[in-house]
């Protein structure tokens, strides 16, 4: 799309395409990193400015259970070959669901203020909680 149309120039029955170019195969077989997104897919947009707190991922404690992947409302957990590899910070809204569903002890995902430095936080990661008597 060369020029973006305004809402009042819109024709009835208009269609937005998520991908550029011709699609032969069902997108379910193309991983997100190989897709040719068009400027109309919300994949190219960012909601990072919604976030007040952000999740920080510490891979030392992660067991790749993928609970965070399945319960992420914003498709922001990047999983490749059954391994969790990181967080998509363009689409994460900082809801904290991933931290709540993380089963490890200590958690491998924790929420920090948006301006916190990731490396410092990982260096001072909390240690294992002892079970309360």
């Amino acid at each position: 799309m060369s020029k973006q149309q305004g809402w009042d120039e819109f024709e009835i029955g208009a269609m937005l395409r998520s991908f550029d170019g011709k699609i032969d195969e069902c997108p379910a077989f193309t991983p997100q990193r190989d897709r040719n997104y068009s400027q109309n897919s919300s994949h190219v947009a960012s909601v990072a400015d919604w976030r007040l707190i952000k999740p920080v991922y510490n891979k030392d404690y992660c067991i790749d259970c993928q609970f965070c992947w399945v319960y992420c409302p914003d498709v922001s957990i990047i999983s490749r070959d059954k391994k969790m590899i990181g967080i998509d910070m363009d689409h994460c809204k900082g809801c904290g669901v991933c931290v709540e569903v993380c089963p490890t002890n200590p958690k491998s995902l924790l929420m920090f203020p948006e301006q916190a430095d990731e490396e410092t936080e990982i260096a001072s990661w909390p240690t294992k909680d002892e079970k309360e008597e």
Partner: protein
């Protein structure tokens, strides 16, 4: 009949390529997108989707963006179901005439709607689709309130909930009518499959969706979707609320095959008192005042009675 996608465990499930994109405008912690992702990832087939007006529709199709990587249509508040049934009828006609370019592809027809557009406004349309037994699936994202327009009550809102049109205060405890049993109503159309699902039980959900997509005929799915804005809880607690709703049996998970054969698909090991489910939500806060405490007891009795009814029905196979 197409091949069913094999999903043995969550690790295998996580290799799915999402067809629902981020940067949609649903609230942080909204369960709608969790349900939609679980549904879309349950299959590798082409999808023809529709959405009735509601949170899901207004938040995923904000010009100039779309969050869907499959054919998706929106028409009006009430006719998400009819749009998909029309597409399905057209597909069938073209297939019979041999005019499809790729006849070996097996698209699945799925419509999404909120509880407002399903329980109230689109009720007649859905009923029509189920009665005509189109080869489609209708999924209700049931958050028990018109969340998109500011939290008005719908006929899915349960007793005691405070909504903006049934506010709790000195004279009223909020909504006074009980929730409509939509799954039972739709099952009475004698459709091949209807079920209730919850996002926290992803395996149960995927199993039901796959069964529903591969069955010939109309399928009705009711999915509980905890709403962080209108149920008034912290966004991070979405899955906790979903857990409470299934474990307290407020939303029992079951399926009805051919309109009569009822199977309970999830029996909680530790049944949580309904009081805990109510206490976790701001919309039931007033029920914990002394004058309204009797309502909590009524809630528990009602939930227990419903659970007993489901179990009896499962045994009797009627």
């Amino acid at each position: 009949m197409s091949e069913i996608k094999k999903i043995k465990n969550l690790k295998e499930f996580s290799t799915s390529a999402d067809r629902f994109e981020g940067a949609h405008l649903l609230c942080p912690g909204c369960a709608h997108s969790i349900i939609v992702r679980e549904v879309l990832n349950a299959t590798n087939d082409d999808l023809v989707l529709a959405a009735s007006t509601g949170c899901l529709e207004v938040c995923t199709a904000v010009y100039p963006y779309t969050s869907w990587d499959a054919s998706w249509i929106h028409i009006g508040f009430e006719n998400g179901s009819t749009a998909v049934s029309g597409a399905e009828a057209m597909y069938k006609a073209l297939k019979t005439k041999g005019r499809l370019k790729q006849p070996d592809r097996n698209p699945k027809f799925v419509a999404f709607g909120g509880d407002g557009s399903s329980y109230d406004i689109g009720f007649q349309w859905i009923s029509g689709c189920m009665e005509r037994n189109h080869n489609m699936m209708y999924i209700v994202l049931d958050n028990e309130v018109y969340a998109n327009t500011g939290g008005q009550r719908s006929s899915s809102t349960p007793i005691g909930a405070s909504a903006t049109t049934t506010p709790a205060g000195s004279v009223s405890y909020g909504e006074k009518r009980n929730k409509k049993d939509m799954v039972a109503i739709m099952a009475s159309h004698n459709i091949p499959y209807s079920a209730q699902v919850a996002p926290n039980k992803w395996k149960d959900m995927v199993k039901k969706i796959q069964h529903g997509m591969n069955v010939e005929g109309a399928v009705f799915i009711n999915a509980v979707s905890p709403c962080t804005t209108e149920w008034k809880f912290d966004p991070k607690d979405t899955m906790h609320l979903a857990d409470l709703s299934t474990d307290s049996l407020v939303f029992p998970l079951y399926e009805i095959i051919d309109g009569h054969e009822l199977n309970i698909t999830y029996r909680p090991k530790n049944i949580v008192p309904v009081e805990e489910y109510l206490a976790a939500q701001g919309r039931f806060k007033h029920l914990f005042k002394d004058e309204y405490k009797y309502l909590i007891k009524e809630w528990q009795t009602r939930v227990d009675a419903n659970w007993a009814y489901l179990q009896r029905r499962e045994e009797a196979r009627v």
